[in-house]
């Protein structure tokens, strides 16, 4: 009897004592009653506001993680090595360009490859003094560790293309913390390049046998992260006016720079409240999963007992909760562009 009473918390049932017009009334599982559902919503609200308050007042409680440019560079090179590609050398000018790009994004509050003022990634690279043949950029934000950043890029075809591009020889990375869209977080800017002196494409070498003297520029023009496929390479003639719309930088490169390999310029940033996402995910999956399971149980019990009827709303609730579970399950922290 006690077991039966206990089971009423989880499965729909009839109360023989309660009758309406001579028939017993079907009751839903007690844990799916309006009061119980309201309690789940209340618990959820308390957890959400609690996490928010802790994040604002004492984010260290939710954990801290520091990750650096060195980690990003080494993980990127690891991915290249796994694909049989040579490692990229750290370049101080590209790192400066990346750092300036991150600073510009925070200062002007934007999350894009091109700034609202129209600044392209290539303008940062040129401003840092890097004379490039190929260039590319990957951006990431709000991740709590370096490997998650690189994995997210590797899961995105266009970003992966940059990481595994054989035309790139050098890399510069900046990790910076600040406020973007009113949200405190970490920004990672990864810039790739090949200095003009490093160009190894046979056709390019043919077209420009004397790179030091030639004003030949091969540049990637697309603002999207995927850069440097040979089909996209544009060979600008000595007179840039012949194809002005395709020239990314106003001044043609005249002097090729020697490779500027710097290894010591490592910056790092600290992610506060790094465990917030995993806590939020766990709470969401637990509460929504529990309610979803009760509805599934209702469907199973009703389908096996002829005297019980499936409530019309159950199928709809199952759909929404299933959708939310799926979305939360596959949700990843941070975003890349």
């Amino acid at each position: 009897m006690a077991v039966k009473k206990f089971s009423h918390h989880f499965v729909p049932h009839h109360h023989p004592s309660k009758k309406y017009e001579g028939k017993t009334i079907q009751h839903r599982a007690h844990l799916l009653g309006i009061g119980a559902l309201f309690s789940y919503a209340l618990i959820f609200s308390l957890v959400t506001s609690g996490l928010f308050i802790i994040r604002v007042s004492a984010p260290k409680i939710l954990g801290t993680i520091t990750f650096s440019t060195d980690q990003i560079v080494s993980l990127t090179n690891q991915k290249r090595a796994e694909n049989g590609l040579p490692p990229l050398s750290f370049n101080g000018q590209l790192a400066t360009a990346a750092s300036q790009k991150a600073g510009d994004m925070f200062a002007n509050n934007y999350w894009a490859h091109n700034s609202p003022a129209g600044k392209t990634p290539w303008s940062f690279i040129s401003a840092a003094g890097y004379k490039y043949v190929y260039a590319g950029e990957n951006l990431a934000r709000d991740f709590s560790d370096a490997s998650a950043v690189v994995n997210a890029w590797m899961n995105s075809p266009s970003h992966k293309e940059n990481i595994l591009d054989k035309n790139f020889r050098e890399i510069g990375v900046a990790v910076a913390d600040g406020k973007l869209d009113g949200h405190e977080g970490i920004l990672v800017v990864q810039m790739f390049g090949s200095a003009i002196s490093q160009a190894a494409t046979p056709s390019l070498a043919k077209a420009s046998p004397t790179p030091v003297a030639s004003p030949t520029v091969v540049a990637e023009l697309s603002p999207k992260p995927a850069v440097s496929s040979p089909a996209q390479i544009v060979l600008v003639s000595p007179s840039p006016t012949e194809s002005p719309s395709l020239i990314p930088e106003p001044s043609p490169v005249v002097v090729a720079t020697a490779p500027d390999i710097v290894t010591g310029d490592n910056s790092s940033a600290t992610v506060l409240a790094s465990r917030q996402f995993s806590i939020a995910k766990m709470v969401s999956l637990s509460i929504v999963g529990f309610i979803f399971s009760l509805f599934v149980l209702e469907v199973l019990v009703v389908s096996r007992r002829a005297h019980l009827k499936l409530r019309a709303s159950t199928v709809a609730h199952l759909g929404l909760l299933g959708f939310v579970l799926l979305v939360v399950w596959y949700a990843v922290q941070g975003s890349v562009i």
């Binding site: 309006i34 559902l37 309201f38 789940y40 919503a41 959820f44 609200s45 957890v47 959400t48 996490l51 928010f52 994040r55 709000d142 995105s156 917030q276 996402f277 939020a280 995910k281 709470v283 969401s284 509460i287 929504v288 309610i291 019309a312 709303s313 199928v315 709809a316 609730h317 759909g319 929404l320 909760l321 299933g322 959708f323 939310v324 799926l326 979305v327 939360v328 596959y330 949700a331 990843v332 975003s335 890349v336 562009i337």
Partner: protein, 87 residues
């Protein structure tokens, strides 16, 4: 008549689930943007509410209890998405 109402029930639920399938595809496509995913969940919750109220109105069994049930489950879904994507 019974067959008709069963057909309408099936059609109504097919429409609802079609919306959820579209939502899953949309969330997948917006996987690089947390805010985009949050927006899709909000739209889906609104769709679910509209569907629920319309469906129960048509069945003439829309009571305060049923409405409360839909609203609380919507709130739980929204909180769940908010805590994940807006944190």
């Amino acid at each position: 008549m019974l067959m008709n109402s069963k057909l309408i029930e099936k059609l109504a639920h097919t429409i609802l689930y079609f919306g959820f399938v579209v939502g899953v595809v949309a969330v997948y496509m917006a996987r690089a943007s947390g805010h985009g995913q949050l927006l899709i969940v909000i739209i889906l919750v609104a769709y679910y509410l509209i569907w629920g109220f319309s469906y129960h109105s048509a069945r003439k069994d829309l009571s305060a209890r049923v409405a409360a049930e839909y609203l609380i489950i919507s709130l739980i879904a929204l909180l769940s998405a908010f805590i994940i994507f807006a944190s």
